[in-house]
C-alpha cells in the first residue's frame, strides 16, 4: 500500500477564536502601535494562504476548498491557493447549479493552466434545498443527480472535443469545444459523494474518487461499505472524510469525534482504512494552520513510505 493521500480542508468561513480567514485580524490594543498601519490592507485570504502553505511545505497531498454559500467562493479561493503552491492538488467544491457546464469547464481550463493541472472538482449534489433556492437553484430531488450527470458529460465533451453538439434535459450546446491553449489539458479529477442509489450510480459513471463520510460517532460498517462499493462498479478510488484530533499523549486528548487518538493511534486508524481500500483522506481540525502543521510533522511521517 502506498502512502495515503492527505487532503486538508480550508475553512471558507474562518476558524479559531479570532475567526481567522473570515473576519479581519483583530485590532491591537491602543497601547500598541499597529505594524500594519500605512501598508496595503491585509485580507482574510492571507490566513487561507498560510494554511495551504503549511499543507504544501508539510508534504500533504492537497487542499479541499468546500462549497459554502455563506463563506468564501470556492473557485476563487482555489485559484488563489493553486498559484501559491507547486505540488498541492486543489479540490474545489461546487454544485452543478453555479454555472453552465461549459462555463465551469472554461473557468477550470484556465485554472489548470494557472497551476499546471492540479485542479480537481468535488461536485456537490445533495445540498439542502432551501440553501439551493437561496442561490437561485430550483432543481430538486433525484433530478439533481440527472443534472449532475449531464453537467459532467457536457463538461468532459467540450473539454476534450471539437464541434460538440449536445441536447439534454438540462443543457444544450451547439458546436462547442475548447481550442488553442485551452485544449488538451487534463480534466479535473472528479470527486463525488453520497450513499443513495442515485449518488452511487452517478459515481459509477463519472467519479474518479468517491468520498465517504466517517460518521461523527465512529466507524464505517464494513457490510454497508462493501455494499456501497459494489455499487460503484470498481472504477472509482475510495476516499474518507473525517475530522481529526491527534495529540502526542492520550492525556491531552479532548473530545472523541472522527479520527482521534495519539499520533500513532491516528496513523494506525488511517492505515486500517487504507487496508479497507481508502487511499485518500479529507481531514480537518481547528485551528487549521496549527493542526495542518501538527498532522504534517507528527502523523504524516508515520504513514510515509510503507510498502
Amino acid at each position: 500500500m502506498s502512502a495515503p493521500r492527505l487532503i486538508w480542508t480550508i475553512p471558507t468561513r474562518g476558524d479559531g477564536k479570532a475567526n481567522r480567514g473570515w473576519d479581519p485580524a483583530p485590532a491591537l490594543p491602543p497601547s500598541i502601535r499597529d505594524g500594519r498601519i500605512g501598508g496595503p490592507a491585509f485580507t482574510p485570504f492571507d490566513y487561507l494562504h498560510q494554511i495551504s502553505r503549511a499543507a504544501e511545505l508539510g508534504g500533504l497531498g492537497g487542499v479541499y476548498v468546500p462549497y459554502d454559500p455563506a463563506g468564501e467562493e470556492s473557485l476563487v479561493v482555489s485559484g488563489s491557493l493553486g498559484r501559491d503552491s507547486r505540488y498541492l492538488e486543489v479540490i474545489a467544491g461546487f454544485p452543478a447549479g453555479i454555472a453552465t457546464p461549459v462555463y465551469a469547464a472554461k473557468v477550470s481550463a484556465t485554472l489548470q493552466r494557472a497551476f499546471g493541472g492540479r485542479l480537481s472538482w468535488r461536485l456537490e449534489v445533495d445540498l439542502d434545498e432551501r440553501v439551493q433556492r437561496a442561490q437561485g437553484d430550483f432543481v430538486t430531488g433525484a433530478d439533481r443527480y440527472a443534472r449532475a450527470a449531464e453537467f459532467l458529460t457536457v463538461a468532459k465533451a467540450v473539454w476534450h472535443g471539437q464541434d460538440v453538439d449536445f441536447t439534454g434535459r438540462f443543457y444544450e450546446v451547439v458546436k462547442g469545444g475548447f481550442a488553442g491553449p485551452l485544449a488538451g489539458l487534463p480534466f479535473p479529477t472528479v470527486y463525488l459523494s453520497g450513499t443513495s442509489d442515485e449518488a452511487l450510480a452517478l459515481s459509477a459513471e463519472h467519479a474518479d474518487v468517491h468520498v465517504f463520510d466517517l460518521a461523527p460517532d465512529g466507524d464505517l460498517n464494513q457490510g454497508e461499505l462493501d455494499h456501497y462499493v459494489s455499487r460503484l462498479g470498481g472504477r472509482p478510488r475510495l476516499a474518507l472524510q473525517a475530522s481529526v484530533h491527534a495529540r502526542e499523549e492520550a492525556a491531552e486528548l479532548t473530545g472523541s469525534a472522527g479520527l482521534h487518538g495519539t499520533y500513532e493511534q491516528v496513523a494506525d486508524q488511517i492505515r486500517a482504512y487504507g487496508e479497507r481500500g481508502f487511499d485518500t483522506f479529507f481531514l480537518s481540525a481547528d485551528p487549521r494552520l496549527e493542526e495542518a502543521l501538527r498532522i504534517a510533522q507528527h502523523v504524516r511521517p508515520l504513514l510515509a513510505g510503507r510498502a
Binding site: P26, P29, P30, R33, G35, G38, L57, G59, L293
Partner: protein, 384 residues
C-alpha cells in the same frame, strides 16, 4: 505613547515544539528526517523548498497580526540576516527587518550601501540590532580579534562613518579603525531615512556607546529589579534613549498548561547540561555573566530555574536561544509585559517557538490583554 512589538524569526529554523526542541525539524540546520519540512520530501525526493520558505510564512504571520516586524538574529549557526531580509522584503508588505550584526564584520560603507538598497527594496523597512560585545571563541569564529572594550570604540566609529556617507557625502574620515576619502552613497541611495538603531550590550563601555548612537537600548529579559537598575544606569550615563527588551514567551490559557509544556520539554534536558549551565562563567560577555548571576545556586528540578514568579531562566537548556523567558497564563504574561512597559520600555521583541504558530497564539491570547503604560491609563494617585 505606543509600544512597538516585534516578533523574532527563527533564523536556523524551528523545532515543532519544546518537546522536540533538540530537533530543528523546520529548516535544514538539523539533519533531514521524516518529520522535516522546508526542505521536506515528496515521493522520497527533496521537495525543493528551503528554510526561507518557512521564514516567509513566519514573517507573513507576524505582519498580518500587526507585529511591527521581526528581529533577525545572527549567530555562526544561523543563516545571515542581510541575505534573508533581502529575500523577505519582496514577500512581505509592512514587516520591518531588525537586522542583527556586529560592526566588525563588514565595512561601514558597505553596510550603508546594503541598508540603502534594502530600504529601497522594502520601502524603508530596515532597522539595526547592533551587537558589539560577546567574545571568546565565538568572536574568533568570525575572525574578529579586537578586544572587548575596543569593540565599542570601533562600533562608535562604524556608526560615525555609516552616518557620514548616508546622505551622499563627500565624506572624509580618519579614525583608529576606519579611513574614508570622498565617501558617500550615490544618487537615489543617498538620504533615505536612517534605520532605527537597537543597541545591545550590558558593560559600561556598551552603555557609554549606546548613549551616543542608540535609538533603543536593548536588553535581554532579566529579573525585574535587575532590569530597573540597568535602565537607571543607562539613564545616568546618557541622554536617555528609549528601552527595548527581548522576551521569550511560553503562554497558555492557564498557567498549569504552560508549565506542563515546560515540564514535557525538560524531559529531554540532560543533567550534565544543567550542571554545565550552572557552572559556566560567560567568557568576556558582560551580558552572559549577568545572566549566569541570576541562575539558581542549587538545582533540584526545573522549577528552580523560575528565578522570580513567571520568569524562567532555563530555556537555553531546552532549545537554542536566550535563557530567560516568561512562562504562565495569558493574563500572567500580559501582566509581566505591562510591568516592563511601566519600567519605560518602548519596544518589546517577543518570541516563542515554533515562531509561526506562537505568533498567532501571542497575538490572539496575550497582546489583547496589555494595558499599556501606567501614565496612559488615566490619573494615578500615588501615596507617599
Amino acid at each position: 505613547m505606543t509600544i512597538d512589538i516585534w516578533w523574532r524569526i527563527g533564523m536556523a529554523g524551528d523545532p515543532s515544539s519544546l518537546r522536540t526542541a533538540h530537533r530543528q525539524s523546520r529548516g535544514d540546520w538539523a539533519p533531514p528526517g521524516p518529520d522535516s519540512i522546508t526542505p521536506g520530501t515528496r515521493d522520497g525526493e527533496p521537495d525543493g523548498y528551503g528554510l526561507l520558505d518557512y521564514l516567509v510564512e513566519t514573517a507573513r504571520a507576524a505582519e498580518g497580526l500587526g507585529f511591527h516586524g521581526g528581529l533577525l538574529p545572527s549567530f555562526p549557526g544561523t543563516d545571515d540576516p542581510w541575505a534573508v531580509a533581502s529575500a523577505l522584503a519582496r514577500a512581505t508588505k509592512t514587516y520591518k527587518f531588525m537586522i542583527a550584526f556586529q560592526p566588525g564584520f563588514l565595512s561601514p560603507v558597505q553596510a550603508a550601501r546594503m541598508t540603502a538598497s534594502l530600504h529601497r527594496a522594502s520601502a524603508g523597512r530596515v532597522a539595526y540590532n547592533i551587537i558589539t560585545g560577546g567574545g571568546g571563541p565565538p568572536q574568533l569564529w568570525w575572525g574578529d580579534k579586537v578586544a572587548h572594550d575596543d569593540r565599542y570604540a570601533r562600533t562608535s566609529e562604524f556608526l560615525d562613518v555609516l552616518r557620514g556617507v548616508w546622505d551622499g557625502g563627500p565624506f572624509d574620515f580618519d579614525g583608529r579603525f576606519y579611513r574614508v576619502r570622498g565617501g558617500g552613497l550615490p544618487g537615489p541611495l543617498a538620504g533615505l531615512p536612517f534605520p532605527e538603531v537597537f543597541f545591545s550590550g550590558s558593560s559600561p563601555a556598551a552603555i557609554e556607546a549606546a548613549g551616543r548612537h542608540a535609538d533603543y537600548y536593548l536588553s535581554w529579559l532579566e529579573p525585574l529589579d535587575a532590569l530597573r537598575a540597568k535602565f537607571d544606569a543607562v539613564r545616568a550615563r546618557s541622554a536617555a534613549p528609549k528601552f527595548a527588551v527581548r522576551v521569550d514567551i511560553l503562554a497558555r490559557e492557564t498557567a498549569e498548561e504552560a508549565w506542563a509544556e515546560i515540564e514535557r520539554g525538560w524531559r529531554h534536558v540532560r543533567p550534565e547540561d544543567v550542571r554545565a549551565q550552572l557552572s559556566r562563567d560567560g567568557g568576556d560577555s558582560f551580558g552572559v555573566r549577568r545572566a549566569v548571576g541570576f541562575q539558581p545556586e542549587s538545582f533540584t528540578g526545573f522549577r528552580d530555574f523560575e528565578v522570580e514568579p513567571g520568569v524562567f531562566a532555563g530555556l537555553a537548556l531546552m532549545r537554542p536561544g536566550p535563557a530567560f523567558g516568561l512562562v504562565g497564563s495569558y493574563e500572567q504574561v500580559a501582566e509581566r509585559l505591562d510591568q516592563l512597559i511601566d519600567l519605560g520600555v518602548g519596544a518589546l521583541i517577543l518570541a516563542g517557538g515554533p515562531h509561526l504558530e506562537e505568533a498567532y497564539r501571542v497575538a490572539e491570547g496575550v497582546l489583547p490583554l496589555l494595558r499599556g503604560r501606567l501614565g496612559d491609563r488615566g490619573p494615578v494617585t500615588l501615596s507617599a
